[in-house]
Subunit: 549 residues, 2 copies
């Protein structure tokens, strides 16, 4: 058993944003925002102050509080304002808007920090007895309302924080699996595995803060999922503690023993129980990483190239194709002469609106070399212009930077949010077009014409994910309405055009209203039946994932 | 839409065995059986005659029969003895023993052959109204009691045969998916795809008769699953018709939209509804197949080699390692001089009890070449002695032959059956030892010391499947008890030693009693809750998969 040492995990998220540091925006990028969106005012507003958040006092019944204290100890039942605010919301654009403005609609009545499966099990029993809702809380990084305090009628609500459940319990070097408590965070997992010559290889953008339990609960996908697999594919076994007891899937290779209970737990987003432990498939640490970049003349050409690589057995481990709009923004963000030169060079090669492609291979020298060689003629055949390793290294270096940039953009009066889906190859163009059109139409109707960039990543033989980044001038006075309308339009477009309701962000509160459209009446009935069996009092993470009857 | 032409599917299974032809056993193999098991009597018994099967008359209520005839037409509601016997059982050893001896304990009261989703849905409604159980019946190849007529108390029972649901509905050449009706059989699927330059690459031993719906319902794995994936991984979408309506999972790449309903349907073995349609991920037909064989000095060395190949990113598409016992039997089956030479050559190289390893790679010339090269030093490093392509080609040629041989062995008074599991690498040796010991001990106690061979196949980064073949003299007068005891001992040993209850045969009637041990009380409660929601009258495939309360 390994326990995280002090300093091996990142400092807490700023209560109103991401990380614990500011990020500067490049001047060309600011110019682009000013010129095209009429946004990006000069002076960043002051840092919000937690005393300005108005919060109703917590209303945890005294008897319940006593029993929780008996279970986890008084120090681990917190109902001070700061703790409640820190566990009131995730990190979507609307979450950040609300936190920054001091408008926290709901917060849990208390935050409980158990340290063992037994303590969690008792907390669940005690809460069920008291009709108190329980919201499991891992890294708090959900961008779809997965960890927003949402009440079930007038019931009290606690957040069940998993930060004390962060042990590495076992590493099996023969089967290459690692067993982790659910609160283990990305960097800690990787640093412990690295000491043993191993890696998990799961790097979502939330990597610095997200937890193993959250990865499982949401079906997270990391940036190298094309090669390393999605988190649900990394799961060898896991345990979920429900109000009616533990549901344990023993670790092991695939089996044919009926419906997959592992796949019932994965993606359950805290509405069935608390994932307390996962066993994941790990790998030897790659000795070689080869990342390189190319420019494609069109997104269509790039998507075709990725499809060809996947379908011919030449998949790299990382694929990432930005459209012309996202590439333009990236070039503006890359300060200095290199970006200008790249633009001129590509224009001379006929790439007036280049689409940046990044491919990455990881492994030992022999396999990486062979795979890169096998892919090269396909890449050349698609008309890709090689840009070398530099732009890819820059992406790799900056790949967890998005949420920091978002804070800086919010400071400057911007709307900034992402939308994602997955689609089969034959519907990729129509899904992408439908989403971009829907976002543009909604935001133009508000007089805030946006920049909408998109990229294709997480590629499979039969399709890929599409990820959209939206930038617009924030409609002061109706920021919430502005994005709510645009998001609704985008989600309607996704569902109508055949895209998945989510590829890796999950459902939470934000997508629950579309679940019946996505899964049909029988599908939702199955989810409800499972919930009723495991959580008969309906205390787990209310209003998330499964739409109300 | 493509429809199978006459002759594109194999002739019906012999009602009492496999295929439609006899197979001769090689003399050295017969000698081995005689010498070591005291079995293999000279004269094969006569072919069983269907008139000798005693069967209670079908007891389908007249009103139900009328409604079924209204739904699918009179010609497609069959209650003659032959049709009932042909849908009374699967193809396990005990099934064959029962059929050959004319002791068919139960048969469906009628066999209904719907031709569309609408007809299936109506049949289910009509049967629910009449309290009549429904057993979905695809290829009839289950070896674990998945399609054995088993009654729910005194209720009538029909078999719902999917043989008329055999259309290829769609092929998407861009996303590389094919949509098939559930009754489509392996050879027909491959021949249709081959005409389009495609392949599914799913080749279980039951390939000639098994159906796409059965593959999905059981979580089947084909012999090339190491490269092509298990059938559940090939599934992009599917539809299950339940007594309460259709549950449809739209085809598409992976998504993060809650628990995976696809993985609730996959493996459901007909107890939740009838899988009527699947969309599967297909591939370009490989231009090159490279299969070769090696000898390993020990099973342990071979397992370590396979593990190394998988864990270093050098996995072949087919891996198959036989232990010394299985290799000895294979050599005895391979008639003639080549086998004798191989034995001598290997003995000279220090492989007194050789373990045969077959590895196969499929794809285009460039990728196959690179992958074979990348694997070669690992193979050499494990002390493998190359045997060239011939033995691997022979295996490939004979790979659907097992069930034919079984008929021939049954003719000669043998007990012949298989047992399978999967295990993590770190438990491979102990699971294998426990199962072999349990089988030996049980059969030796009956005075019928067995040959137990095993092989490792279907390899993953974290483990592999283990497959055991048991040969012994049949205990005339107590053949059922003899195998029932041995099978129980083997299954107890699997569960106790940490193996999976099944890797790819499934649960059916035969493993249902161990389901609670494998999944725990909460796991079984979830399965029951799903069943109750989709099949509230409990008419679907009674007594299979989920143990009775």
């Amino acid at each position: 058993v390994s326990r995280p040492a002090r300093g091996s995990t990142p400092p807490p998220l700023r209560w109103w944003g991401w990380g614990d540091r500011d990020t500067a925006l490049a001047e060309p990028f600011l110019a682009l925002l000013r010129d095209e969106l009429g946004a990006a005012s000069e002076a960043p507003p002051e840092c919000p102050r937690i005393e300005h958040v108005s919060l109703l006092p917590g209303a945890l019944p005294a008897r319940l509080r006593r029993r929780l204290v008996e279970t986890v100890g008084g120090f681990h039942v917190r109902d001070d304002s700061e703790e409640r605010i820190r566990h009131a919301a995730g990190r979507s654009y609307l979450d950040l808007i609300a936190l920054r403005s001091g408008r926290v609609a709901e917060a849990p009545d208390a935050v409980v920090h158990p340290a063992s499966d037994e303590e969690i099990q008792t907390v669940l029993r005690v809460c069920a007895d008291a009709d108190c809702s329980v919201m499991p809380f891992g890294g708090g990084t959900s961008v779809v309302g997965g960890v927003n305090a949402s009440r079930d009628r007038g019931r009290p609500l606690i957040a069940l924080a998993l930060d004390r459940m962060d042990l590495l319990l076992d590493v099996d070097r023969s089967s290459l699996t690692a067993t982790l408590q659910a609160g283990s965070r990305g960097p800690w997992i990787e640093s412990e595995l690295a000491q043993r010559g191993l890696t998990l290889g799961h790097h979502p953008q939330s990597f610095e803060y997200a937890t193993a339990g959250g990865y499982a609960a949401t079906r997270s996908a990391g940036q190298a999922s094309t090669g390393y697999g999605r988190f649900d594919q990394m799961l060898s076994g896991l345990r979920m503690l429900t109000p009616t007891g533990a549901l344990t899937v023993p670790a092991g290779p695939p089996r044919a023993t009926g419906p997959s209970l592992l796949d019932v737990i994965a993606g359950s987003e805290g509405v069935l129980g608390v994932i307390s432990e996962v066993t994941v498939r790990v790998r030897s640490r790659p000795r070689l990483r080869h990342y390189a970049a190319w420019s494609l003349q069109t997104f269509h050409a790039g998507a075709g190239l990725i499809r060809d690589l996947l379908q011919s057995g030449r998949a790299p481990d990382v694929v990432r194709l930005a459209d012309a709009e996202e590439t333009r923004a990236s070039l503006a963000m890359a300060r200095g002469a290199a970006a200008r030169m790249a633009r001129r060079y590509l224009a001379a090669r006929g790439h007036a609106s280049p689409c940046l492609l990044i491919l990455g291979w990881e492994g030992d020298g022999q396999t990486v070399g062979a795979r890169v060689r096998a892919a090269s003629s396909t890449i050349r055949g698609a008309g890709a212009v090689a840009l070398g390793e530099r732009p890819a290294q820059a992406w790799l270096y900056d790949r967890f930077e998005g949420p920091y940039l978002r804070d800086a953009l919010l400071d400057r009066g911007l709307l900034v949010e992402t939308v994602e889906t997955s689609a089969p190859w034959h519907e990729m163009a129509s899904v992408r077009g439908a989403v971009v059109d829907a976002l543009r139409a909604s935001l133009e109707a508000d007089g805030t014409a946006p920049l909408v960039g998109s990229h294709l990543s997480h590629a499979y033989r039969d399709g890929a994910s599409l990820y959209f980044t939206v930038l617009a001038r924030r409609l002061e006075g109706d920021a919430v309405g502005q994005w709510t309308r645009a998001k609704r339009a985008a989600t309607d477009a996704i569902v109508a055009s055949g895209g998945a309701l989510s590829h890796h962000h999950g459902i939470g509160l934000d997508h629950a209203a579309w679940m019946t459209a996505a899964h049909g009446d029988r599908g939702i009935a199955v989810l409800r039946a499972i919930k009723k069996e495991l959580d008969p009092a309906g205390i787990m993470n209310p209003n998330k994932l499964i739409p109300p009857e």
